[in-house]
Amino acid sequence: MDFSFIRRFAPMYFDAARLTLGIAALGILFSVLIGALCSVTEYYKLPILRRIASAYVELSRNTPLLVQLFFLYFGLPKLGIRMSSALCGVVGLSFLGGAYMTESFRAGLEAVEGVQREAALSLGLTPLQSMGYVIFPQALALSVPSLVANVIFLIKETSVFSAIALADLMYVAKDLIGLYYQTEEALFMLVLSYLVLLLPISILGTLLERRLRYAGFGD
């Protein structure tokens, strides 16, 4: 292992990790918004919107992110819709993540007992208030474990961004292998970077899950 090489190129990995995290953060933010919207649509069984939401979820969950990105990045420009690779990354990740977040929120909403909703309505809360103050907070607490799993999944999925010319961790590693043939060092740094990125989130998720277990009602 050549440590001077590692020291020399560590800043490149650092920048790449920052880029990965930035795009992942934006993508996750939008995914959560999309997920919350779609799951509430399905919860209230809104006539047409519900169909659209479930079609979107099926379409996005049954196709790989790489193919979605290729369509966005290479296909859509032929229709005159041009996006930078960073924007493509955010859009693709939100498209994929939104569906997974929808599933998590839906499971959480289904787990909130119907009596909660009835009680909220009988107290005179409007449907919007009862969703915002009573049902959704409980659903959120219930879906935290799968939300954290989705966050980790989405950060992992960002590794395909190198295919649309984003200088992320995979891209840097492949570049260094190609330029210097220092394969062991480049791969070691790659693994280390992902461990540093994902291990804290994974541990934090476990802790959060343990804490939120008390948030449940009754049992």
Binding site: T63, A173, T183, Y194
Partner: protein, 246 residues
């Protein structure tokens, strides 16, 4: 403003039927020559990799899951580390490790397809193992005790009591794992395997002048192909899950 006006213009010129100067556009590229067969051949490579990996992960995953329920602290720690490492690393990183790493470390030149199968088997074993462990742990102790009280041997207990109860819980999850494998196998294009995405790229590049806008229908169709492969499998898993819930 100007940029959007230009985009709007190019959009309208694309959609309108004006003189294209000998160029063809649209969906025709799919059925030009043997393009469609080539795409299906590419899809077959993807499916072959994922089905082979799934078939190999099945017995290994069951073994690994049973191993994880052992009380031995060493096996416990080792299997935990293995599972967590595989879980936390993106599959593409694992592919790079096997494809580029083994070449360097052991002077082994693995083909892209073989590295992909190795990675997916390692990954599938870990994931399925965890599912098996979860299913085994969720069987209440009283089931084992009652079986023993009825005079069943351990082998009979496994076959008649435990396995039928775990299998119902496991099969839908295992089927979902297959769709995840099909989706993840799209990554193998990045280690040089010629599968459906690469075939699509080749078709687009070969017809660059006759079909300048080929990327849209080709990638659109690949998107649909993946959907058509994965969706029925997901639906089937969902059906089984619903039927066996009780």
């Amino acid at each position: 403003m100007r940029a959007s006006a230009i985009e709007l213009f190019s959009l309208s010129s694309l959609l309108s039927l004006q003189n294209t100067g000998g160029r063809e556009r649209g969906i025709g590229i799919l059925f030009d020559g043997n393009n469609f067969e080539r795409l299906m051949g590419g899809l077959f490579v993807t499916i072959r990799i994922s089905l082979l990996s799934a078939a190999l992960s099945l017995p290994l995953g069951i073994l690994f899951g049973m191993l994880m329920t052992r009380r031995n602290p060493l096996t416990k720690a080792l299997s935990r580390i293995y599972l967590d490492f595989i879980r936390i690393m993106p599959q593409l990183v694992l592919l790079f490790l096997v494809y580029f790493g083994t070449a360097r470390a052991f002077a082994l030149s693995l083909s892209g397809e073989l590295s992909a199968v190795i990675v997916f088997v390692l990954w599938g074993t870990a994931e399925l193992g965890d599912l098996v462990r979860g299913a085994l742990v969720s069987i209440p102790r009283i089931q084992y005790e009652s079986a023993a009280a009825l005079g069943l041997t351990p082998l009979q207990t496994a076959f008649f009591i435990i396995i039928p109860q775990t299998v119902r819980r496991l099969i839908p999850l295992a089927i979902n794992l297959v769709t995840r494998m099909v989706k993840t196998s799209s990554l193998v294009v990045l280690i040089g395997v010629v599968e459906v995405l690469k075939t699509g790229q080749q078709i687009i590049d070969a017809n660059r002048f006759r079909y300048p806008t080929a990327a849209l229908p080709i990638y659109g169709v690949i998107f649909l192909l993946y959907f058509l492969v994965c969706w029925p499998i997901s639906l089937f898993a969902g059906c089984l899950e619903k039927r066996w819930r009780d």
